[in-house]
């Protein structure tokens, strides 16, 4: 699913704010993410990363400001409407269909964009194009062997990989991942980073991540969110060197990492 080339950024946030009661969690964020860019959002706990993520994906409605996808304002749209505009996301807590097989999980995620929508006049097993596409994605995420297992019985790392598969299956050109490697061992993390790089080839990727290794490995640009504001948004190298970032957040993290 490719969109006609536009001059607009893939995702653009304009003076976005979000308050819960009196607490102002996001306090005016401006950010533009270009098409095809791999963008990481980092920041300390409680900085508002998940809130920002949920604002972009339509789970929360902004208090003020707006979210633009390909130049179109999506504030207040339902999650499914935003998805139909070409944005797909993963979740903080593994979010799959546990009582269906791996294959079904993938196939369900294909249906909308392959045009089946609410069809009750197609028999799903006869739609070979869907099945073929699902098999291809299974292959991409290296889960052909687990094809007929119930998703609920997979290992944690497998479920995370399946979730990536579900997220990219619909062919969205903006992929948003939330902590895709959380809770994984070093080797699993490496595997996951390679997988993400492979399946998001040529797409816009927005990833929220704790693991600085992953972030600096994967991202073209990094935005640092502290107390609901973006204090820096630049290439990994620049962010690493930024004094503001060091003071606010990264210093301690980087020192630990060294």
């Amino acid at each position: 699913m490719t969109r006609p080339p536009t001059t607009h950024a893939a995702v653009e946030l304009q003076n976005l704010t979000k308050s819960f009661g009196l607490a102002k969690i996001i306090q005016g964020v401006d950010l533009a993410i270009d098409r095809g860019e791999r963008h990481a959002i980092i920041g300390p706990n409680g900085a508002g990363k998940s809130t920002l993520f949920n604002l972009i994906t339509g789970k929360y409605v902004p208090t003020s400001g707006s979210v633009l996808l390909h130049g179109e304002n999506v504030s207040g749209k339902k999650p499914y409407q935003i998805n139909r505009m070409g944005l797909s996301r993963s979740f903080q807590i593994t979010n799959i269909f546990p009582k269906m097989t791996v294959f079904e999980n993938i196939r369900c995620s294909l249906l909308w964009t392959m045009g089946y929508r609410y069809s009750f006049w197609h028999l799903i097993d006869r739609q070979n194009s869907v099945s073929q596409r699902a098999e291809e994605i299974l292959d991409q995420i290296n889960m052909v062997a687990r094809r007929d297992e119930l998703a609920g019985v997979l290992t944690y790392a497998e479920q995370r990989a399946l979730e990536i598969g579900i997220t990219i299956a619909g062919g969205a050109d903006i992929i948003m991942l939330y902590e895709p490697t959380a809770g994984m061992s070093a080797s699993e993390t490496n595997y996951m980073v390679d997988l993400i790089r492979k399946v998001t080839e040529g797409k816009t990727l927005i990833v929220v991540e704790h693991d600085m290794g992953v972030v600096f490995d994967l991202a073209d640009r990094i935005s640092v969110l502290v107390y609901g504001e973006i204090i820096e948004s630049d290439t990994p190298q620049k962010v690493r060197e930024s004094t503001r970032v060091k003071e606010a957040y990264l210093g301690s993290v980087l020192e630990e990492a060294n």
Binding site: T57, K78, P79, Y80, N83, R84, S88, R89, F91, N95, I96, F97, P98, K99, M100, T101, F103, E104, R107, C108, S109, L111, W112, T113, Y116, R117, Y118, S119, F120, W121, H122, L123, I124, D125, R126, Q127, N128, S131, Q132, A134, E135, D148, L150, I166, G170
Partner: protein
């Protein structure tokens, strides 16, 4: 628990060409069912057996339609009788139009109209009730159910008050010489519609919307981020369910030639929930098993004991507690041992435990029957007979005997249970061939 076992039999996409509409392997059960249903009247020829089988067929359609909500889409409705009932009432009025106003409508087509009426009502009510799942949906369904049941008493013009609306199915044009006066002709009409409706519902579960309904049931938030409006998915499932409920209602109208308030009330809505759950919500065949067992209990067991509802209640509560996947789930548990060829391991412990088990059930029932008789029988009618034995229900000995037998058989069951569990473990252990 709700894993649809059908899911794993999806033909591989690697197969060349388009898969046939229904693969031969999956068509076989349908053909067997059709042949069996066609031959049933040869075995059970009496009018009442036909009536009971018709009743079963109608209940099966209704339960399958209900399971499109509960099992397939995860929506718990406490007022689903409304859609079957309204479909039936409309069909009854259509029948009366045929009789009095010479409307040309062959009887075999009536269920189609019943389905449409059910669909229309489900569309209207679903427009606001399916916005949310869970408790909110359950409560709205309860409220709407109560409202329409109450309306059926108030709006006499349409619902006929507590007498209901009756008609005569034989007044329409004859179809190939059949006027549907005989119970046998009605049986075949009902059974053909049963097969059509069941096939329709089965195929629906294998369409994109059917699969997405499962997805919304399991994880509505995730489904939204796949591009689907959870509300629309529920609404469509609800309408489809309403359509098949309407067919069941039309068949009810044809069979009983009367529709009353009880076709709409909460007791009917409750019993379809009971039937579906008893059979097993996670399996396509679950509601079928539930409907057959329930109809037998209701029409047959009630001939023999006043306590049938007590037994039914106990059975239901035990099912919810110990076998939440229902009777079909119980059967499905044996699929794996069967597939890996170890079902034989279970035969011995099953046979061993069957005797004490049966004795325990009979003795427990005896305790209840004796207590009930002792408490409610009239003086002078202290004699009761149970299992062909006559005795005085007010004496201590029979009750004590029944209690001792029950306790003893329970003790034996407890002794045998570890062996059964061990065999069960063995039978499930091992690789699939």
């Amino acid at each position: 628990m709700k894993h649809d076992t059908e899911n794993s039999t999806v033909p591989s996409a690697a197969q060349p060409g388009r898969a046939p509409l229904i693969a031969m392997r999956s068509a076989l059960p349908w053909i067997i069912a059709a042949v069996a249903l066609a031959l049933m009247p040869v075995v059970f020829a009496s009018g009442s057996a036909l009536t009971i089988m018709n009743q079963m067929a109608i209940t099966i359609i209704f339960a399958l339609a209900y399971n499109m909500l509960l099992g397939q889409a995860g929506m718990l409705s406490f007022g689903h009788a409304v859609y079957m009932g309204l479909g039936g009432f409309f069909c009854m009025h259509l029948l009366n139009q045929v009789e009095y106003n010479e409307l040309y409508l062959p009887l075999p087509l009536l269920p189609l109209f019943g389905g449409l009426f059910g669909l229309i009502f489900a569309f209207v009510i679903g427009s606001f009730s399916t916005r949310r799942a869970g408790t909110v949906f359950a409560m709205i369904s309860l409220g709407v159910g109560e409202l329409i049941a109450a309306c059926s008493i108030i709006i006499v013009v349409f619902f006929g008050g507590e007498e209901g609306v009756s008609g005569d199915r034989t007044m329409g044009p004859t179809v190939f010489g059949f006027d549907f006066a005989s119970q046998l002709e009605v049986y075949y009409l009902t059974v053909i519609w049963l097969l059509l409706a069941a096939l329709g519902m089965y195929l629906f579960s294998r369409t994109p919307i059917g699969r997405i309904a499962n997805a919304v049931r399991d994880n509505e938030e995730r489904a939204e981020f796949l591009g689907y409006s959870q509300r629309n998915v529920r609404w469509i499932s609800f309408c489809a369910s309403g359509f098949f409920c309407g067919i069941a209602g039309a068949l009810f109208a044809i069979n009983f030639e009367i529709l009353t308030e009880e076709n709409l009330n909460l007791a009917t809505s409750g019993s379809i929930l009971l039937i579906t759950f008893l059979g097993g919500v996670g399996f396509f065949l679950g509601p079928v098993i539930g409907a057959v067992v329930f109809t037998l209990l209701q029409t047959v067991l009630s001939l023999y004991t006043e306590l049938w509802q007590l037994y039914l209640g106990i059975l239901f509560v035990l099912t919810v507690m110990f076998f939440p996947s229902g009777l079909a789930g119980l059967l499905a548990m044996h699929v794996r041992p069967w597939k890996i060829g170890k079902l034989g391991l279970l035969a011995r412990p099953y046979v061993q435990i069957a005797g004490p088990g049966l004795i325990f059930v009979l003795a427990s029932a005896a305790v209840l029957e004796i207590l009930f008789h002792a408490r409610h029988a009239s003086i002078g009618a202290e004699q009761m007979s149970l299992y062909g034995i006559s005795f005085n229900s007010h004496a201590v000995a029979p009750l004590a005997f029944a209690l001792i037998v029950a306790a003893a058989s329970l003790f034996i069951i407890a002794r045998l249970a570890p062996a059964l569990l061990e065999a069960w473990g063995d039978a499930n252990h091992g690789d699939s061939p």
